[in-house]
Symmetry: D2
Subunit: 421 residues, 4 copies
């Protein structure tokens, strides 16, 4: 007979409260540093769960106003759970991580996508759009998300951790800080900034630590914004539940940390806070391949995607090249970023013909399972990038028709209380 005795749940190694600000909780940190001690240790082969607060640490609410986005404190992100040490892992090994599941908390069946202010966070089109804070709240209905702020769409989540990585060694950390510092120096007054140096303000490690260790971590710890050699904030939508990832190990125990869970995201995560950000629970198991860094030539993680990533085979695909034809017409030299932006702007234009506002379109492309491929990157001077809208996520038929596109009224996303857009 089925009994409680023969039914052993998988252990939860980090528990958090999604409704309490991050820096009042244990098992959370928001900088990368080799000296952050592990909060738990697992054996290879063991299945375990980690709870994660949303990346802002509960700063954003389920409401119809974007003032919380406007005022978000970005020194205090991204809040990661961990680190988790794996028995036997040593520098040079490969840590195999099975991402077995990624789910929201039952008590918090919603997430959000935000457009940040030009001066506070930015995003891909922060300058082009002179961005003001906007957001969309998404309701989670099982495997699907819908939004009262972006009606007419429903899609299955390609749920994944936006941020997952092993701890850097002291040497690797120094490399990061040096190279990013150089870039910052070259672009001193950029708005938004091109990169973020170590910053004690907002730094947090939710553990009892000696003061000097804490000070060192806060002073040297790498910021969590970019992805790097250890993984980090790669925001790859297909590193989703069901995938298997191979990480290089840089410190004893590997010290895996994870956070910034996404219910869904489009390729590119365009608006920066572009995924459907959520608090939730991630389930892992791990194994170790000794000497895997050398065996597989790992300079960055590699992974096997999930067999349950959402499949929408019918798509409408937009192209873009490295000419800023939506702006000043400037010709760029094989610049895939510019090409991505044109493809995105072409898609936004199309969505606006269907009745979505520019802000809704920007949010939707950020959050839905949009696919962006590098088409060609050798046909000088124009890189070509594509962006694919899955038709199956729309309630209505959005295909090009003889009579043009039917424009509907989809309202607007959540905006600032002062109405500024």
């Amino acid at each position: 007979m089925a009994t409680r005795a023969n039914s052993i749940p998988h252990p939860t190694l980090v528990k958090i409260d999604p409704f309490t600000v991050a820096d009042q909780q244990k098992g959370i940190h928001n900088r990368w540093h080799p000296d952050i001690p592990p909060v738990a240790t697992v054996k290879p082969g063991q299945t375990f769960k980690i709870e994660c607060i949303d990346w802002t640490g509960a700063q954003i609410g389920n409401n119809d106003c974007s003032d919380d986005i406007k005022n978000v404190d970005l020194t205090a992100i991204h809040n990661l759970s961990g680190p988790i040490a794996v028995e036997g892992a040593e520098p040079g090994d490969c840590l195999v991580v099975d991402i077995l599941d990624v789910t929201p908390f039952e008590q918090m069946p919603w997430g959000y996508t935000g457009i940040f202010e030009l001066e506070n966070g930015g995003g891909l089109f922060a300058r082009e759009f002179n961005s003001r804070a906007c957001k969309a709240i998404w309701d989670f209905n099982g495997v699907y998300a819908t939004s009262r702020h972006i009606p007419g769409v429903r899609f299955a989540g390609v749920s994944h951790p936006g941020l997952i990585g092993t701890a850097p060694s002291a040497e690797l950390l120094a490399t990061w800080n040096k190279r990013e510092g150089g870039l910052i120096a070259e672009h001193k007054d950029a708005v938004p900034p091109v990169a973020f140096p170590p910053e004690p303000k907002g730094a947090y490690v939710g553990q009892d630590l000696p003061d000097d260790m804490r000070e060192k971590i806060y002073k040297e710890g790498a910021r969590t914004v970019p992805g790097r050699e250890h993984g980090g904030n790669c925001d790859i939508k297909n590193l989703s539940r069901g995938s298997r990832c191979y990480f290089p190990v840089f410190v004893k125990g590997a010290n895996l940390s994870v956070g910034d869970l996404h219910f869904s995201q489009g390729d590119g995560e365009m608006s920066f806070c572009g995924a459907i950000e959520m608090a939730g629970i991630i389930t892992f198991s791990t194994s170790i391949i000794k000497g895997g860094v050398e065996k597989f030539g790992l300079k960055q993680p590699i992974f096997l995607p999930s067999p349950i990533d959402p499949l929408y085979s019918a798509k409408l695909i937009f192209e873009g090249i490295s000419v800023d034809y939506h702006g000043d017409g400037k010709q760029y030299n094989m610049d895939a970023t510019v090409a991505y932006k044109q493809a995105a702007l072409n898609t936004i234009t199309y969505l606006m013909k269907l009745g979505y506002t520019r802000e809704q379109s920007y949010l939707l492309l950020s959050a839905a399972p949009i696919e962006s491929h590098v088409g060609a990157i050798v046909d000088s001077p124009n890189a070509c990038v594509t962006m694919a809208l899955p038709l199956g996520i729309f309630e209505h038929d959005i295909l090009p028709k003889e009579d043009g596109l039917q424009k509907r009224d989809f309202g607007q996303c959540a905006i600032r209380s002062d109405g500024v857009l």
Copy 2:
């Protein structure tokens, strides 16, 4: 009863000989210019075929030496068939083109992928690899390609035209030449060049034309290397047989031209002559949506992909960020091109652990149905790009294993007669 009388083949509107150099053939041109007259006119709804010579115009042979690649004349490419006028198409309309099939000639069941010399054509890694001419010959066995120069792989072709587009208006042509001229001026001595200005040498229109018209076309005609607002050399692998494409129309009749057929290609077409280049036959039908440019906000073509694009669901995915960690370690600012290159170099490293040479790996990633996604393009300063190897194209299991990777001897691709690599 089935009879010849009740079985009407689709007409072939441009016929070429794949074994004769391009500039001795009719119905071919290799520059973009509004004044090139159509060679045929079709009615909307009609199915028709166009024969295309390979992009070099028969310069490359089915042999085991890359000297033909080394010495290729690049002023005489890409050889396009057409233009084909569509009755009723006018500027501002949308020309709907169904790419119904793309096949090699029965009498020429092979194609090639080339690495060009740094000084003659280049390619994505021309400088990093100090590229010398290499090639792989691919045999076409029905829907599959295999190569004696890259053993151990077989894949179904995602067959497509590398180059397809409507004719530019005089105004659009002027815009292209101006903006690309500006870029060239900024990078005068770049090797390989960053862009290509109009060049009468090698220019060709295989029609009887008045001398002054020919001279004008040759002098002003845009080069065919990059993709642009009209389509052109976008090299999008999924614009494949079975897809439907919506082109903006810039001149009366639309004047569609096509060439540079590819049996297969990976996202990015990395080595420049990176697809499996072939001569062959493309089947089309067309329709017109009046005023479609405005109706759909077309700044560049959009398309619906094919239901028969090859599906290999199991993949091994490599990541890359905008740090040149394979080179001098330089930090770039949100540069997706650099990120693509790191993902590619990570993949090449892995393939070399399996026993492929660097040249074979470079050619394979260019030619096989590799998928490259823009992962994230907002996590300053690192863009993240992924590259996916489909497992099903390999004869052997290439997954990461406890014991590392089994290194096999796959020989080498075709190289120069002087043995220089």
Copy 3:
């Protein structure tokens, strides 16, 4: 800020304890009858959850012995949660049910697949194999299942309710009982029985009911084994989380009941208790299409499959025809059931060459995401049916090789304590 106040969980309308036998719990019933009152009422559009005990009502344990399977009481199955009434639904309407999620209980991360005794439950090959009780326990690791009783495989669950349906009208119930009674009469002594008549023994409705109503339900209530016009035990694996189903409505309120949750199942559910049976939670929302039965010609439910059904594109496919070439060689007349059986026996033979026992093979094909297509059903006298093994679920390469198949030792599944097989 994210708060408990702005985070409203979806309500759970039926709560059960997976470790308590079914007939001691509320909100459960195990017969179909129009008079069973709804236990809750929902409004169209509302998302809600229903907890379900496993189909046997906790009779099977997580252990390594199949005696519980041998002794299972089949009069007391399948235990359904509900009925749930939907406001406004009337006979002739179509009840649209979104199956939004199907998950196991966190405290019970396992399920089972069983082979039943020939004399107690049977199964497709009960007679051919003279079946004795066997089982495999499956561990749920996020979206994946693995089994200590069938090593070497891991697969993503195509999780679904084996049994879901609207309540029958009195008239429909009478039709069922009459037609099945006729069949039983024709095959009086069949082992296993060909069908199951109403049976008060084991009948259960977990509600306070007047005695005469309870007696009537127990006496007339249709057994839950077969699928019928209202849905019921159709055991369609692709009616999975993420699918949308359109049910005919036969009584006021529609009165939807659900149970027999499956973590995974192969097409056919071969061994009868062939899915991975589990207790768990199903999430729904509903809507009503007035007069939908007539509008869509519904004689049985129709549905839209889920975009997250597991995708394993590489497969090895076995064929079968309606000749019993694994048995006495008898020629059947266009019998797809016989053809399915041959395809299954061909697959079992192959799995045994790989080292799985016959029992493991039978259980694996029942539980894993095996696809079985009707190939052809008109080529007299042989129907042809196929069965596809997804390659990606196996840890090892199982493809046919020059040297034959490598036979490994996978042990055995759980068998009876007396060792009888």
Copy 4:
């Protein structure tokens, strides 16, 4: 340079004329017999082509009247090309056949689907519909088929040989004739017949043969209608171009024959002449696995499907059970054939609500890439079978809608000149 000399086409081993009746052509046969000598011999590894006449041998014309279907001579079908011997193949070996491509003749870009008369050919619903001859002509436009007789649909072909197999040994042939003879004896007066005995009338081998050998073959040769242990007329749509098939070998040389090419077909091939029947060209290569029958336990072919089978992920799925609720309401015992029929009738009903006639619906489900799965085959007494309509093949949105289905006028398929339906 590309030259004719370095471009060697694959050889065509059997050439036919699609416009000449079969029994006036060489290299064709229409019975299975071990004594039919090979018409060509290939080495393992060689790529080669085989031309095939349509299965009726040019009896059906591209016109708008079904009288040719009504009067078709079915003793003279299916016309196969071959046999082809493979060097080194011996009984007990496994013949690996790569189906590299299947295409129509360029000069015959059309095919047909037929409903046969109840008394001349039948089909799955011959009795239910009291079938009179109907047909649809399909135009091939590259990878797509469309029909003037069934407007509003377009789909990519899952092109395959309906009929492919190795030659039987004398012993296997005797087994077939004996067991099918038994069935015929049991159902002497069935209309349509349940099986077909050897029949010299209409038998044909397009080779110079000694009279006694010819007589023996004609007298004993197995009819080609059903699939059997050697493959044969399995009509499996996914044995398509790009698939790899493993056949058991029964005679020296294997003696592979092929015919009955289909441009497309739905699972089940419902109307018997239900695929899109065509004349065309098939491309093969082969290899041999010695002793493969024993190594893989082959009782019938197994195969690997193609990566380019059409993918239409969005579907509307119909269910059916083994109760004849479209007819007399009879309860069958776990009969998957009856369940398939109900699923098909439910789908036909739905298509008729959209405006297709019953005949058009029957033809469409036979010819389009419909998927039919065995849902469950153990829930006594009802087998459950599903049938999936791919949404992407329809020009209009066919999903169930609040307002019901929009009924359009699609005309009618080709019918008899006397107008009898």
